[in-house]
Amino acid sequence: MKALTALFGRDAKLAVRAGGGAPVAVLFFLIVVTITPFALGPDLALLQRIGPAILWIGALLASLLALDRLLAADLDDGSLDLLTMSDTPLELALAAKALAHWLTTGLPLVIATPLLALFLNLDLVASAAVAATLLVGTPALTFLGLAGAALTVTLRRGGLLLSVLVLPLTIPVLIFGVAASNAAIVGPLPFGTPFMILCALSLTGLVIGPVAAALALRSGHD
């Protein structure tokens, strides 16, 4: 446990110190949300209607692009080798890394959501609903992305390939995230059902992501 808290603390520190990528993800999110109305036009009624979708797409892209360096940085400086030499299982190590990553990049996206919701003219209920769905949904994105990051790092590729591999896997998260948000805003479906499925997706991701990532690292490592 001491080893895992140390790893969690190290990754969180690295993300927020100068040169860390955590603030850049929020900035990216802000830019995606800002750019969309330039394509759609400044019609507030339209933006309000599709606001949850814009926010979800923005958060999805921001979480995935930020994952690129999650394992690549550790591969480049040799840390990844040493991470496998502990009696702490690699699966738990990867889960700790993913949690630290979510806390420093996923959670700020959730916190920024109510602010960005103002730009899209969402009311209080709607912006709270989107923030709540992102809060329980973005961990699933991070954990699925972790598996993709492990696959691409063994191939020494990253960036777009990571997104191409992982984006199809995130479709259920997107479906239930936007469904739950819209259910809270316009109905007629209850908010609870898609929201619970979203929670389930994140919990499933917590198990599948680190196990798949550890498998990918072990098989592709050399």
Partner: protein
């Protein structure tokens, strides 16, 4: 002492040591006087007391552009004249400029709430300021990413110049985009030309905010020079230790 001597960081530090207390006092007095003027100004017959937001909103908007101008000149100083303080000035202007841009956005949103019934509309002018804010954040992110100051300075200078060339293009495009889609619900801000009773407080507030900007800019520059000295001392400490 010639002006060129202040290019020396040590001279600059001793100059700001003497100047900063006066500047801080002056800026505080000017702001106090300006706020007093603002509350002495008559209320607008249409907008009521909310018109007073203008007295901070408009100076902030002007200074948001002033900040990028300082960065542009400093970037030329970095790339062309290789002035030793230029990149310090450019780096220090970014957070100050971003702060004034943010003030402009927040006051714009607060003003928009009673005017438009919503905190944000994609009005051409507000949207341009938002894009400017994003560009400031981009420059700050670039400064944060590169640890070594001289390398970061060149990259940030190029980005700033490209931004400066693009700003008018962005402004023009956003205006065109907005008139193309002009939604009927948006009221135009430009009413009749401004009354002298409002103009005087506005000018006073502009001067006060400008003085605040310069004070903050000098203080941040000073901090940056000191921070770089600490970094140099750390590097020297590592160099003198065994095994370097």
């Amino acid at each position: 002492m010639a002006l060129i001597d202040y290019a020396n960081p040590s001279k600059f530090i001793s100059l700001t040591d003497r100047l900063l207390p006066w500047l801080i006092g002056g800026a505080a007095l000017a702001l106090a006087f300006g706020v007093n003027q603002v509350f002495g100004a008559p209320e607008d017959y249409q907008q009521g007391a909310t018109v007073r937001i203008m007295f901070i909103h408009v100076p902030a908007a002007w200074l948001s552009m002033f900040g990028w101008m300082i960065m542009t000149i400093s970037s030329l100083g970095t790339l062309v004249w290789r002035h030793p303080l230029a990149d310090v000035a450019a780096k220090a202007a970014a957070p100050v400029g971003a702060a004034f841009t943010l003030i402009c956005l927040i006051t714009g949103a607060l003003w928009g709430r009673p005017m438009w019934g919503t905190y944000w509309v994609w009005d051409a002018r507000l949207t341009s300021v938002l894009v400017l804010f994003l560009m400031y954040l981009g420059v700050i992110a670039l400064w944060r990413t590169v640890e070594e100051p001289t390398r970061a300075a060149r990259a940030a200078a190029i980005l700033t110049l490209v931004g400066a060339i693009n700003l008018p293009i962005i402004k023009f495009s956003v205006d065109w985009w907005n008139t193309l889609h002009q939604p009927a619900s948006v009221l135009r801000l430009d009413g009749p030309s401004i009354h002298p009773d409002l103009l005087v407080p506005l000018l006073v507030m502009t001067l006060a905010c400008g003085l605040t900007f310069i004070t903050l800019h000098l203080a941040v520059m000073r901090n940056e020079i000191l921070r770089r000295r600490i970094r140099t001392m750390h590097l020297l400490q590592a160099q003198r230790a065994p095994g370097s």
